[in-house]
Protein backbone atom coordinates (compact mmCIF):
# COMPACT_ATOMS: atom_id res chain seq x y z
CA UNK A 1 0.00 0.00 0.00
CA UNK A 2 2.79 2.33 0.91
CA UNK A 3 4.56 1.47 -2.33
CA UNK A 4 1.44 2.33 -4.27
CA UNK A 5 0.97 5.65 -2.56
CA UNK A 6 4.63 6.50 -3.07
CA UNK A 7 4.34 5.63 -6.73
CA UNK A 8 1.25 7.79 -7.04
CA UNK A 9 3.07 10.72 -5.50
CA UNK A 10 5.99 10.25 -7.85
CA UNK A 11 3.68 10.21 -10.83
CA UNK A 12 2.19 13.48 -9.76
CA UNK A 13 5.67 14.96 -9.55
CA UNK A 14 5.71 15.33 -13.25
CA UNK A 15 7.50 16.62 -16.18
CA UNK A 16 9.43 19.52 -17.56
CA UNK A 17 11.39 20.28 -14.44
CA UNK A 18 14.74 21.49 -15.76
CA UNK A 19 17.34 22.94 -13.37
CA UNK A 20 18.31 21.15 -10.20
CA UNK A 21 16.71 17.98 -8.97
CA UNK A 22 16.84 16.36 -5.54
CA UNK A 23 20.32 15.05 -4.82
CA UNK A 24 22.03 17.67 -6.99
CA UNK A 25 24.54 20.08 -5.56
CA UNK A 26 22.83 23.42 -5.01
CA UNK A 27 24.37 26.13 -7.20
CA UNK A 28 26.19 28.68 -5.09
CA UNK A 29 25.12 32.30 -5.30
CA UNK A 30 25.71 35.65 -3.71
CA UNK A 31 22.78 38.06 -3.95
CA UNK A 32 21.97 41.36 -2.24
CA UNK A 33 18.90 41.85 -0.12
CA UNK A 34 16.82 45.03 -0.20
CA UNK A 35 19.20 46.73 2.21
CA UNK A 36 22.25 45.90 0.14
CA UNK A 37 23.52 43.16 2.43
CA UNK A 38 24.96 40.24 0.50
CA UNK A 39 23.79 36.70 1.20
CA UNK A 40 26.05 33.84 0.21
CA UNK A 41 24.64 30.33 0.04
CA UNK A 42 28.05 28.80 0.71
CA UNK A 43 28.50 30.93 3.82
CA UNK A 44 25.20 29.73 5.23
CA UNK A 45 26.11 26.13 4.43
CA UNK A 46 29.54 26.59 6.05
CA UNK A 47 27.66 27.63 9.20
CA UNK A 48 25.75 24.33 9.07
CA UNK A 49 22.47 25.94 8.07
CA UNK A 50 19.65 24.32 6.16
CA UNK A 51 18.51 26.80 3.51
CA UNK A 52 15.03 27.26 2.08
CA UNK A 53 14.66 29.24 -1.14
CA UNK A 54 11.31 30.73 -2.08
CA UNK A 55 10.92 32.31 -5.51
CA UNK A 56 8.93 35.48 -4.97
CA UNK A 57 6.92 38.08 -6.87
CA UNK A 58 4.83 40.34 -4.63
CA UNK A 59 2.18 40.89 -7.30
CA UNK A 60 1.60 37.25 -8.14
CA UNK A 61 -1.75 35.99 -6.75
CA UNK A 62 -0.13 32.81 -5.48
CA UNK A 63 2.41 34.78 -3.48
CA UNK A 64 -0.42 36.87 -2.08
CA UNK A 65 -2.23 33.65 -1.20
CA UNK A 66 0.67 32.47 0.95
CA UNK A 67 1.75 35.86 2.31
CA UNK A 68 -1.51 37.79 2.74
CA UNK A 69 -4.54 35.52 2.60
CA UNK A 70 -2.61 33.16 4.85
CA UNK A 71 0.90 33.41 6.22
CA UNK A 72 2.16 30.03 5.08
CA UNK A 73 5.71 31.16 4.43
CA UNK A 74 6.24 33.20 7.59
CA UNK A 75 4.61 30.53 9.74
CA UNK A 76 6.63 27.72 8.23
CA UNK A 77 9.81 29.71 8.73
CA UNK A 78 8.90 30.49 12.34
CA UNK A 79 8.41 26.76 13.03
CA UNK A 80 11.97 26.04 11.97
CA UNK A 81 14.01 29.20 12.43
CA UNK A 82 15.40 28.08 15.79
CA UNK A 83 16.48 24.75 14.30
CA UNK A 84 19.17 26.10 12.05
CA UNK A 85 16.98 26.94 9.08
CA UNK A 86 17.57 30.02 6.93
CA UNK A 87 14.78 31.14 4.60
CA UNK A 88 15.57 33.36 1.62
CA UNK A 89 12.98 34.81 -0.74
CA UNK A 90 14.38 35.54 -4.19
CA UNK A 91 12.80 37.76 -6.83
CA UNK A 92 14.19 36.95 -10.28
CA UNK A 93 11.88 39.36 -12.06
CA UNK A 94 13.59 41.62 -14.57
CA UNK A 95 13.39 45.39 -14.26
CA UNK A 96 10.09 46.63 -15.63
CA UNK A 97 8.28 43.34 -15.18
CA UNK A 98 5.49 42.65 -12.75
CA UNK A 99 6.60 42.77 -9.12
CA UNK A 100 10.21 43.63 -9.92
CA UNK A 101 12.46 46.37 -8.59
CA UNK A 102 13.71 47.43 -5.19
CA UNK A 103 10.98 49.98 -4.45
CA UNK A 104 8.12 47.57 -5.10
CA UNK A 105 9.76 44.90 -3.01
CA UNK A 106 10.51 47.26 -0.14
CA UNK A 107 6.80 47.99 -0.01
CA UNK A 108 5.99 44.29 -0.22
CA UNK A 109 8.39 43.47 2.60
CA UNK A 110 6.42 45.85 4.78
CA UNK A 111 2.97 44.85 3.54
CA UNK A 112 3.70 41.14 3.89
CA UNK A 113 5.65 41.54 7.13
CA UNK A 114 8.35 39.29 5.75
CA UNK A 115 10.18 37.46 8.49
CA UNK A 116 13.17 36.66 6.28
CA UNK A 117 15.44 38.40 3.74
CA UNK A 118 14.21 39.19 0.24
CA UNK A 119 16.97 39.00 -2.37
CA UNK A 120 16.94 40.54 -5.82
CA UNK A 121 18.11 38.63 -8.88
CA UNK A 122 17.02 40.88 -11.77
CA UNK A 123 19.35 39.19 -14.26
CA UNK A 124 17.65 35.91 -13.41
CA UNK A 125 20.91 33.98 -13.31
CA UNK A 126 20.29 32.42 -9.92
CA UNK A 127 16.69 31.61 -10.80
CA UNK A 128 17.72 29.93 -14.01
CA UNK A 129 20.55 28.02 -12.36
CA UNK A 130 17.96 26.41 -10.11
CA UNK A 131 15.35 26.10 -12.84
CA UNK A 132 12.91 28.22 -10.86
CA UNK A 133 9.71 28.35 -12.89
CA UNK A 134 6.99 29.68 -10.67
CA UNK A 135 6.31 32.05 -7.83
CA UNK A 136 6.43 30.46 -5.40
CA UNK A 137 8.86 27.69 -6.33
CA UNK A 138 10.47 26.14 -3.26
CA UNK A 139 13.87 24.53 -2.74
CA UNK A 140 15.19 22.98 0.46
CA UNK A 141 18.98 22.67 0.64
CA UNK A 142 20.62 20.44 3.21
CA UNK A 143 23.64 21.67 5.14
CA UNK A 144 25.83 19.45 2.97
CA UNK A 145 24.78 21.54 -0.02
CA UNK A 146 22.55 19.01 -1.73
CA UNK A 147 18.98 19.62 -2.80
CA UNK A 148 16.55 17.85 -0.48
CA UNK A 149 13.31 19.10 -1.99
CA UNK A 150 12.06 21.04 -5.00
CA UNK A 151 8.52 21.97 -5.89
CA UNK A 152 5.37 23.45 -4.44
CA UNK A 153 4.81 24.80 -0.95
CA UNK A 154 1.67 22.68 -0.56
CA UNK A 155 -0.68 20.37 -2.40
CA UNK A 156 -3.34 22.83 -3.56
CA UNK A 157 -2.46 24.63 -6.77
CA UNK A 158 -5.44 26.96 -6.75
CA UNK A 159 -5.11 30.67 -6.18
CA UNK A 160 -7.53 30.79 -3.28
CA UNK A 161 -7.62 27.59 -1.24
CA UNK A 162 -4.97 25.74 0.73
CA UNK A 163 -3.57 22.26 0.75
CA UNK A 164 -3.42 19.78 3.57
CA UNK A 165 0.25 18.99 3.16
CA UNK A 166 2.99 21.58 3.56
CA UNK A 167 5.72 19.97 1.49
CA UNK A 168 8.46 22.27 2.74
CA UNK A 169 7.61 21.63 6.39
CA UNK A 170 7.65 17.89 5.72
CA UNK A 171 10.99 18.13 3.94
CA UNK A 172 12.50 20.22 6.74
CA UNK A 173 11.25 17.82 9.39
CA UNK A 174 12.79 14.90 7.53
CA UNK A 175 16.12 16.64 6.98
CA UNK A 176 16.32 17.67 10.64
CA UNK A 177 15.56 14.09 11.69
CA UNK A 178 18.25 12.78 9.35
CA UNK A 179 15.67 10.87 7.37
CA UNK A 180 15.03 10.76 3.62
CA UNK A 181 12.44 13.20 2.35
CA UNK A 182 9.39 11.09 1.49
CA UNK A 183 8.36 13.29 -1.42
CA UNK A 184 11.50 15.08 -2.62
CA UNK A 185 9.93 16.54 -5.74
CA UNK A 186 6.52 17.92 -6.59
CA UNK A 187 5.21 20.06 -9.38
CA UNK A 188 5.57 23.72 -8.41
CA UNK A 189 2.59 25.94 -9.08
CA UNK A 190 2.00 29.63 -9.42
CA UNK A 191 2.76 32.47 -11.79
CA UNK A 192 5.69 32.15 -14.17
CA UNK A 193 8.91 33.79 -12.96
CA UNK A 194 9.15 37.07 -14.87
CA UNK A 195 12.62 36.61 -16.34
CA UNK A 196 14.24 39.13 -18.69
CA UNK A 197 13.25 38.74 -22.35
Amino acid sequence: MKVLSTLALLLVAAAALAGVVPGDKAPDFVLPDLDGKEHSLDEYLDQGKIVVLEWFNPDCPFIKKHHLQAHTMNETYERFRDKGVVWLAINSGAEGKQGAGRERNLQAREDYDLAFPLLLDPAGTVGQSYGAKTTPHMFVIKADGTIAYTGAIDDDNSAGTFGKTNHVAEALSAVLAGEPVAQPETRPYGCSVKYAD
Binding site: T6, L7, L10, L11, V12, A13, A14, A15, A16, L17, A18, V21, D59, C60, P61, F62, K64, L68, Q69, S92, A94, K97, Q98, G124, G127, Q128, G131, A132, K133, T134, N157, S158, A159, G160, E185, R187, P188, Y189, G190, C191, S192, V193, K194, Y195, A196, D197
Partner: protein, 257 residues
Protein backbone atom coordinates in the same frame (compact mmCIF):
# COMPACT_ATOMS: atom_id res chain seq x y z
CA UNK B 1 -8.34 40.06 -3.43
CA UNK B 2 -9.71 37.97 -6.24
CA UNK B 3 -11.63 39.11 -9.23
CA UNK B 4 -15.12 37.96 -8.53
CA UNK B 5 -18.06 38.52 -10.72
CA UNK B 6 -21.10 36.91 -9.31
CA UNK B 7 -23.47 38.61 -11.67
CA UNK B 8 -24.73 35.38 -13.13
CA UNK B 9 -27.14 36.01 -15.93
CA UNK B 10 -29.64 33.56 -17.19
CA UNK B 11 -31.44 34.13 -20.40
CA UNK B 12 -34.18 32.30 -22.14
CA UNK B 13 -36.86 30.45 -20.34
CA UNK B 14 -38.58 27.40 -21.65
CA UNK B 15 -41.41 25.02 -20.97
CA UNK B 16 -41.62 21.43 -19.94
CA UNK B 17 -39.66 19.23 -22.30
CA UNK B 18 -36.11 19.29 -23.54
CA UNK B 19 -36.30 20.28 -27.14
CA UNK B 20 -34.00 18.76 -29.73
CA UNK B 21 -31.30 21.11 -30.88
CA UNK B 22 -32.59 23.97 -28.79
CA UNK B 23 -29.98 26.20 -27.19
CA UNK B 24 -29.69 28.76 -24.41
CA UNK B 25 -27.06 31.28 -23.47
CA UNK B 26 -25.82 32.76 -20.24
CA UNK B 27 -22.99 35.24 -19.84
CA UNK B 28 -20.85 37.10 -17.33
CA UNK B 29 -17.72 39.20 -17.71
CA UNK B 30 -14.50 40.32 -16.07
CA UNK B 31 -11.77 42.54 -17.48
CA UNK B 32 -9.59 39.91 -19.07
CA UNK B 33 -12.14 37.17 -19.53
CA UNK B 34 -15.78 37.13 -20.62
CA UNK B 35 -17.60 33.93 -19.89
CA UNK B 36 -20.75 32.59 -21.47
CA UNK B 37 -22.45 29.27 -21.98
CA UNK B 38 -24.48 27.84 -24.79
CA UNK B 39 -26.58 24.75 -24.42
CA UNK B 40 -28.09 22.30 -26.82
CA UNK B 41 -30.51 19.73 -25.51
CA UNK B 42 -32.07 16.55 -26.81
CA UNK B 43 -34.42 14.13 -25.14
CA UNK B 44 -31.79 12.47 -23.01
CA UNK B 45 -28.77 14.71 -22.94
CA UNK B 46 -27.65 18.27 -22.66
CA UNK B 47 -24.42 19.54 -24.14
CA UNK B 48 -22.94 22.75 -22.77
CA UNK B 49 -20.32 24.84 -24.49
CA UNK B 50 -18.55 26.92 -21.83
CA UNK B 51 -17.02 29.85 -23.67
CA UNK B 52 -14.19 32.06 -22.39
CA UNK B 53 -13.51 35.12 -24.56
CA UNK B 54 -10.13 36.61 -23.75
CA UNK B 55 -8.93 40.17 -24.04
CA UNK B 56 -5.98 40.74 -26.35
CA UNK B 57 -2.80 38.81 -25.39
CA UNK B 58 -4.31 37.21 -22.30
CA UNK B 59 -4.21 33.46 -22.05
CA UNK B 60 -5.80 30.62 -20.12
CA UNK B 61 -4.10 27.34 -19.32
CA UNK B 62 -4.76 23.91 -20.78
CA UNK B 63 -4.89 20.84 -18.51
CA UNK B 64 -1.56 19.50 -19.76
CA UNK B 65 2.04 19.56 -18.58
CA UNK B 66 2.68 23.22 -17.73
CA UNK B 67 5.31 25.02 -15.74
CA UNK B 68 2.90 27.60 -14.35
CA UNK B 69 -0.75 28.49 -13.99
CA UNK B 70 -3.74 26.19 -13.73
CA UNK B 71 -6.60 25.37 -16.10
CA UNK B 72 -10.11 26.75 -15.75
CA UNK B 73 -12.63 24.68 -13.87
CA UNK B 74 -16.40 24.40 -13.82
CA UNK B 75 -18.19 23.45 -10.62
CA UNK B 76 -21.80 22.47 -11.19
CA UNK B 77 -24.55 22.50 -8.62
CA UNK B 78 -26.56 19.74 -10.23
CA UNK B 79 -30.14 18.96 -9.23
CA UNK B 80 -30.88 15.51 -7.85
CA UNK B 81 -30.58 12.77 -10.41
CA UNK B 82 -28.41 14.72 -12.80
CA UNK B 83 -24.84 13.79 -13.67
CA UNK B 84 -22.11 15.47 -15.68
CA UNK B 85 -19.40 14.22 -17.97
CA UNK B 86 -15.84 15.50 -18.00
CA UNK B 87 -14.81 18.80 -19.52
CA UNK B 88 -13.51 18.27 -23.03
CA UNK B 89 -10.75 20.58 -24.24
CA UNK B 90 -9.67 21.83 -27.66
CA UNK B 91 -6.07 21.74 -28.85
CA UNK B 92 -3.89 24.29 -27.01
CA UNK B 93 -0.82 26.12 -28.26
CA UNK B 94 2.69 26.08 -26.82
CA UNK B 95 3.85 29.21 -25.05
CA UNK B 96 7.56 29.38 -24.25
CA UNK B 97 8.49 32.22 -21.92
CA UNK B 98 11.93 33.58 -20.95
CA UNK B 99 13.76 31.17 -18.69
CA UNK B 100 12.57 28.15 -20.65
CA UNK B 101 9.18 28.24 -18.98
CA UNK B 102 6.73 26.22 -21.06
CA UNK B 103 2.98 26.36 -20.83
CA UNK B 104 0.18 25.09 -23.03
CA UNK B 105 -2.43 27.79 -23.35
CA UNK B 106 -5.35 29.31 -25.20
CA UNK B 107 -5.45 32.83 -26.58
CA UNK B 108 -8.49 34.74 -27.86
CA UNK B 109 -11.08 32.15 -26.92
CA UNK B 110 -11.52 28.82 -25.23
CA UNK B 111 -14.66 26.74 -25.60
CA UNK B 112 -15.00 23.71 -23.32
CA UNK B 113 -17.61 21.09 -24.02
CA UNK B 114 -19.43 19.16 -21.34
CA UNK B 115 -22.31 16.72 -21.45
CA UNK B 116 -24.94 16.74 -18.74
CA UNK B 117 -27.27 13.82 -18.21
CA UNK B 118 -30.75 14.49 -16.83
CA UNK B 119 -32.68 11.90 -14.89
CA UNK B 120 -35.08 9.85 -16.94
CA UNK B 121 -38.11 11.58 -15.52
CA UNK B 122 -36.76 15.07 -15.89
CA UNK B 123 -39.37 17.56 -16.83
CA UNK B 124 -40.08 21.18 -16.32
CA UNK B 125 -37.84 24.11 -15.95
CA UNK B 126 -34.46 23.36 -14.43
CA UNK B 127 -31.89 25.86 -13.24
CA UNK B 128 -28.27 24.67 -12.95
CA UNK B 129 -25.85 27.08 -11.29
CA UNK B 130 -22.25 26.72 -12.43
CA UNK B 131 -19.18 28.38 -10.95
CA UNK B 132 -16.41 28.91 -13.43
CA UNK B 133 -12.91 29.65 -12.12
CA UNK B 134 -9.77 30.48 -14.04
CA UNK B 135 -6.35 32.05 -13.97
CA UNK B 136 -5.79 34.50 -16.83
CA UNK B 137 -2.27 35.74 -17.50
CA UNK B 138 -0.58 38.25 -19.73
CA UNK B 139 2.30 40.16 -18.14
CA UNK B 140 0.49 39.57 -14.89
CA UNK B 141 -1.80 36.83 -13.68
CA UNK B 142 -5.33 37.43 -12.44
CA UNK B 143 -7.52 34.70 -10.97
CA UNK B 144 -11.21 35.07 -11.61
CA UNK B 145 -14.47 33.30 -11.08
CA UNK B 146 -18.08 33.82 -11.91
CA UNK B 147 -21.37 32.04 -11.52
CA UNK B 148 -23.66 31.38 -14.43
CA UNK B 149 -27.05 29.76 -14.24
CA UNK B 150 -28.13 27.52 -17.04
CA UNK B 151 -31.86 27.50 -17.58
CA UNK B 152 -33.24 24.38 -19.18
CA UNK B 153 -34.88 23.62 -21.46
CA UNK B 154 -33.19 26.10 -23.75
CA UNK B 155 -35.32 27.97 -26.19
CA UNK B 156 -33.34 29.58 -28.94
CA UNK B 157 -30.91 28.69 -31.70
CA UNK B 158 -27.23 28.34 -31.09
CA UNK B 159 -26.84 24.65 -31.66
CA UNK B 160 -24.36 25.39 -34.41
CA UNK B 161 -21.98 26.99 -31.93
CA UNK B 162 -22.13 23.96 -29.66
CA UNK B 163 -21.62 21.59 -32.55
CA UNK B 164 -18.68 23.65 -33.77
CA UNK B 165 -17.14 23.49 -30.31
CA UNK B 166 -17.61 19.72 -30.22
CA UNK B 167 -16.00 19.42 -33.64
CA UNK B 168 -12.89 21.19 -32.32
CA UNK B 169 -12.33 18.63 -29.56
CA UNK B 170 -9.59 16.19 -30.59
CA UNK B 171 -10.41 12.50 -30.53
CA UNK B 172 -8.08 9.51 -30.26
CA UNK B 173 -5.12 9.57 -32.58
CA UNK B 174 -5.68 7.04 -35.39
CA UNK B 175 -3.15 4.23 -34.80
CA UNK B 176 -1.85 4.46 -38.36
CA UNK B 177 -0.96 8.13 -38.11
CA UNK B 178 2.02 7.85 -35.77
CA UNK B 179 4.19 5.19 -34.17
CA UNK B 180 5.38 5.47 -30.58
CA UNK B 181 8.43 3.54 -29.43
CA UNK B 182 9.34 3.66 -25.78
CA UNK B 183 12.94 3.02 -24.80
CA UNK B 184 14.66 3.10 -21.43
CA UNK B 185 15.13 6.84 -21.50
CA UNK B 186 13.15 8.11 -24.48
CA UNK B 187 9.82 8.01 -26.21
CA UNK B 188 10.35 8.19 -29.98
CA UNK B 189 7.41 9.35 -32.10
CA UNK B 190 7.39 8.96 -35.85
CA UNK B 191 4.70 10.09 -38.25
CA UNK B 192 6.02 9.31 -41.71
CA UNK B 193 5.81 12.24 -44.07
CA UNK B 194 4.87 14.81 -41.45
CA UNK B 195 6.24 18.33 -41.81
CA UNK B 196 6.22 18.89 -38.07
CA UNK B 197 5.21 17.28 -34.78
CA UNK B 198 4.20 18.71 -31.42
CA UNK B 199 3.72 16.53 -28.39
CA UNK B 200 1.78 17.85 -25.43
CA UNK B 201 2.05 15.51 -22.44
CA UNK B 202 -0.65 15.16 -19.83
CA UNK B 203 -0.02 16.74 -16.46
CA UNK B 204 0.62 13.38 -14.83
CA UNK B 205 3.24 11.17 -16.34
CA UNK B 206 6.95 10.47 -16.39
CA UNK B 207 9.35 13.28 -15.59
CA UNK B 208 10.89 14.78 -18.70
CA UNK B 209 14.37 16.15 -19.30
CA UNK B 210 13.39 19.27 -21.25
CA UNK B 211 9.93 19.49 -22.76
CA UNK B 212 10.53 23.05 -23.94
CA UNK B 213 13.31 21.73 -26.18
CA UNK B 214 11.90 18.32 -27.07
CA UNK B 215 8.18 18.97 -27.41
CA UNK B 216 8.08 20.25 -30.98
CA UNK B 217 10.12 19.50 -34.09
CA UNK B 218 10.21 20.12 -37.79
CA UNK B 219 10.16 16.82 -39.61
CA UNK B 220 8.49 13.52 -38.92
CA UNK B 221 10.33 12.28 -35.85
CA UNK B 222 10.23 13.59 -32.30
CA UNK B 223 12.27 12.24 -29.39
CA UNK B 224 11.10 12.97 -25.89
CA UNK B 225 13.78 12.40 -23.27
CA UNK B 226 12.64 10.86 -19.98
CA UNK B 227 14.34 11.61 -16.73
CA UNK B 228 15.71 8.50 -15.04
CA UNK B 229 14.48 7.54 -11.63
CA UNK B 230 11.31 6.47 -9.97
CA UNK B 231 8.24 7.25 -12.02
CA UNK B 232 10.13 7.07 -15.32
CA UNK B 233 8.08 4.04 -16.34
CA UNK B 234 4.74 5.76 -15.82
CA UNK B 235 2.44 5.76 -18.84
CA UNK B 236 2.84 8.75 -21.13
CA UNK B 237 -0.49 10.23 -22.11
CA UNK B 238 -1.09 13.36 -24.10
CA UNK B 239 -1.90 14.98 -27.37
CA UNK B 240 0.04 14.75 -30.64
CA UNK B 241 -0.29 17.46 -33.27
CA UNK B 242 0.79 16.54 -36.78
CA UNK B 243 1.51 19.22 -39.37
CA UNK B 244 1.23 17.66 -42.79
CA UNK B 245 3.17 18.63 -45.87
CA UNK B 246 0.01 19.89 -47.55
CA UNK B 247 -0.47 22.44 -44.80
CA UNK B 248 -3.20 20.54 -43.01
CA UNK B 249 -3.00 19.87 -39.27
CA UNK B 250 -4.43 16.92 -37.40
CA UNK B 251 -4.29 15.96 -33.76
CA UNK B 252 -5.38 13.30 -31.37
CA UNK B 253 -4.83 11.88 -27.93
CA UNK B 254 -2.57 8.91 -27.23
CA UNK B 255 -1.35 6.68 -24.44
CA UNK B 256 2.08 5.07 -24.41
CA UNK B 257 2.07 2.33 -21.74
Amino acid sequence: MFVRNLAGVALLLGLCQFLPAAASRAAAASNAVTVSAQVVASADSVVVAWRFDLAERWHLYAPYCNDSGFPPSVRLDLPAGWSAGPLRWPVPERLVLPGGILDHVYHDELVLVQSLHPPRAAAGRTAIPATLSWLACRQTCVPGDTTLTLILPPADGGADAVLAAEAAIPGRLPPASARFVRGASTVRVRAPGARGLTLIPAADGPALVDLAADGTVRGDELVLRLRPGAGASAPLRGLLIIDHTNGARSSGSFVVP
